[in-house]
């Protein structure tokens, strides 16, 4: 029993899962059964991949010991640049790849500037938040360009089949989440990411190229944010320059609620997904329960603080159990 309790306490994402189940039950009752109805779940699951992919990228970067505030802007810049490139006559595949390459370059700049000048990534990416948002609006020329109507939305955002619960974006999300989780826990590169974020000096002294590891994580984070933006734009059908505003903080909140440590070294992809699900459930549940929607941010704020305090407390309890078992 104690052993079970310790395992539970060591995994903050499980607490998130428990909270999620409680919230689902509460909102299910408060919304008179609408929350878990097919149509509603279908709607929420259409939104989930977009935010979850951003949260996964942010989580990996945070495990590596860095931070990215520019994901919300990159989320908008990628589809906008893709739309502009499309309108200049480039085929869709090439335009998507170019858009993702732009994201990779932004991630590289974030990482390079942070490491080369030894400034906190909080500052670098805060700068990039403004730069990428500004670029998005500048290249749109103030008017969002129209997307061609023959884009392969069947591959990205259409429902898997007529009347299916999930869109194709969900398949992408599951695939990427599985790959990201495997990268972190099964590969040597994942070991390096954790070591770099857990204790930079130790990783460096063991010969890990810590700077390169961090830059790769910055790039991965930006590319995932850009891809998530692409999914949203394909779903909406129009590249608005304002999408993704505030997303960076929600993604960080999702990571933290899912048990990722701000100081680095600790976190899981599963936790990021749980964190995202919690935020989406609160958002949706409040609306369905006819609560004033302006309480949404309040709830996320409380949840974030609560999650961090609970994680710290659980870590402490877990250590206590170990000491007692030793006596």
């Amino acid at each position: 029993m104690k052993r079970f309790l310790k395992i539970y306490l060591d995994k903050p994402e499980l607490a998130g899962l428990a909270l999620l189940i409680v919230l689902l039950a509460v909102f299910q009752v408060k919304s008179n059964g609408v929350l878990l109805s097919f149509e509603n779940v279908r709607g929420v699951m259409g939104l989930l991949p977009e935010m979850a992919l951003v949260a996964i990228g942010v989580t990996i970067l945070m495990i590596c010991g860095e931070f990215d505030l520019s994901v919300g802007s990159v989320f908008a810049l990628m589809p906008m640049s893709m739309a502009v490139i499309l309108n200049s006559g480039v085929p869709f595949t090439a335009a998507v790849l170019l858009g993702l390459a732009i994201c990779a370059v932004i991630g590289f700049i974030n990482g390079y500037v942070t490491l080369q000048f030894s400034i906190p990534s909080f500052i670098t990416t805060l700068g990039m938040l403004f730069i990428a948002r500004s670029l998005t609006i500048v290249i749109s020329g103030g008017f969002p360009p129209l997307l061609p109507s023959d884009l392969p939305t069947w591959l990205f955002t259409d429902y898997i089949w007529q009347g299916a619960l999930f869109r194709m974006s969900f398949v992408w999300f599951v695939g990427i989440a599985v790959l990201a989780a495997a990268l972190l826990s099964l590969t040597n590169f994942g070991n390096w990411i954790r070591a770099t974020g857990g204790f930079n000096e130790a990783a460096a002294s063991m010969g890990i190229p810590v700077k390169r590891v961090k830059i790769v994580c910055f790039m991965l984070c930006s590319v995932l944010a850009g891809f998530a933006g692409l999914l949203q734009v394909l779903r909406l059908g129009s590249p608005l320059p304002s999408i993704g505003e505030g997303l960076e903080l929600q993604a960080v909140a999702a990571a933290v609620i899912g048990g990722t440590a701000l100081a680095g070294g600790i976190g899981t992809v599963f936790g990021a997904i749980i964190g995202t699900l919690l935020i989406r459930t609160i958002d949706n549940g409040l609306v369905l329960s006819r609560v004033d929607a302006n309480w949404f941010k309040f709830a996320i704020g409380v949840l974030t603080m609560f999650a961090v305090i609970a994680n710290a407390w659980m870590g402490k309890m877990s250590r206590k159990i170990k000491v007692e078992a030793h006596k």
Binding site: L186, N188, N191, W192, R194, G198, A202, S205, G207, G265
Partner: protein, 243 residues
């Protein structure tokens, strides 16, 4: 005469105008445990950083087993069998013992360009063995290093160096911030190096620790080696008088 395991010839190092190492010559024989002492700024750390590949000398040579080597990174030094354990401990507290033991040297099931799937079963089994080899008994290779005591952590670091068949173990003030009991444990590890056929360089501020565990005392001051005698032929007072 056996070939020295490490030989430093005329090592010089400047740090933006400060002459940190002045023509340092040092020969270390296999199986020796050398205590390196000296005040802050005496050049101990600079010498060690050159041997562990963190810095590169401005002039002079490092020879390992009679061959000239060029240590450009910690990885280079490790490849030549020089492993360094720092005072802050080169373990990541948020990772398991098994993962820590293999940081940067993970056994892979398959790989592409050096990246691939770790053989976690082998990592667990080998880390249990490596830890048992240094007479350290831990419950599980999956325990987090952060849950270990300071002495146990240094023990795991030493187990790691032994597991990778290092020839020389450089211990850079491994007893700092440790309790008396933990310090004794680390000194025990240092004494045990000889039995394992390893050469040790033990850097410390604490004369007692060095005299308890080393065969030979080397003292540095102002970037030079000012003293070099077998432990049996000297005393703490004699070394103190010099520094």
């Amino acid at each position: 005469m056996t070939t020295p395991v490490i030989e430093c010839r005329n090592l010089q190092k400047w740090y933006s105008g400060v002459h940190a190492l002045k023509n340092v010559n040092l020969i270390i024989h296999p199986g020796e445990t050398v205590g390196l002492v000296g005040d802050n700024g005496a050049g101990k750390s600079t010498l060690i950083k050159i041997l562990s590949g963190v810095h590169h000398q401005d002039s002079g040579e490092v020879m390992i087993e009679g061959r000239k080597v060029d240590l450009r990174s910690p990885k280079d030094a490790m490849r030549h069998g020089l492993e360094t354990i720092y005072q802050y401990n080169s373990m990541v507290p948020t990772m398991s013992i098994a993962r820590n033991l293999f940081i940067g040297r993970e056994p892979l099931k398959w790989s592409v360009f050096g990246f691939g799937l770790m053989d976690q079963k082998r990592m667990r089994a080998e880390s249990v063995q490596a830890i048992a080899d240094v007479d350290l008994h831990l419950r599980s290779p999956d325990a987090l290093v952060g849950e270990l005591s300071g002495g146990q952590r240094q023990g795991v670091a030493i187990a790691r160096a032994m597991h990778f068949k290092s020839k020389v173990l450089i211990l850079d003030e491994p007893t700092n911030h440790l309790s008396v009991k933990e310090t004794d444990k680390v000194i025990g590890f240092v004494r045990g190096l000889k039995a394992q056929g390893l050469t040790g360089i033990f850097i410390s501020h604490n004369m007692q620790h060095v005299f308890q565990s080393c065969d030979r005392i080397v003292a540095m001051a102002r970037g030079e080696i000012v003293f070099d005698k077998p432990t049996a032929a000297t005393s703490i007072d004699e070394v103190h008088a010099l520094l």
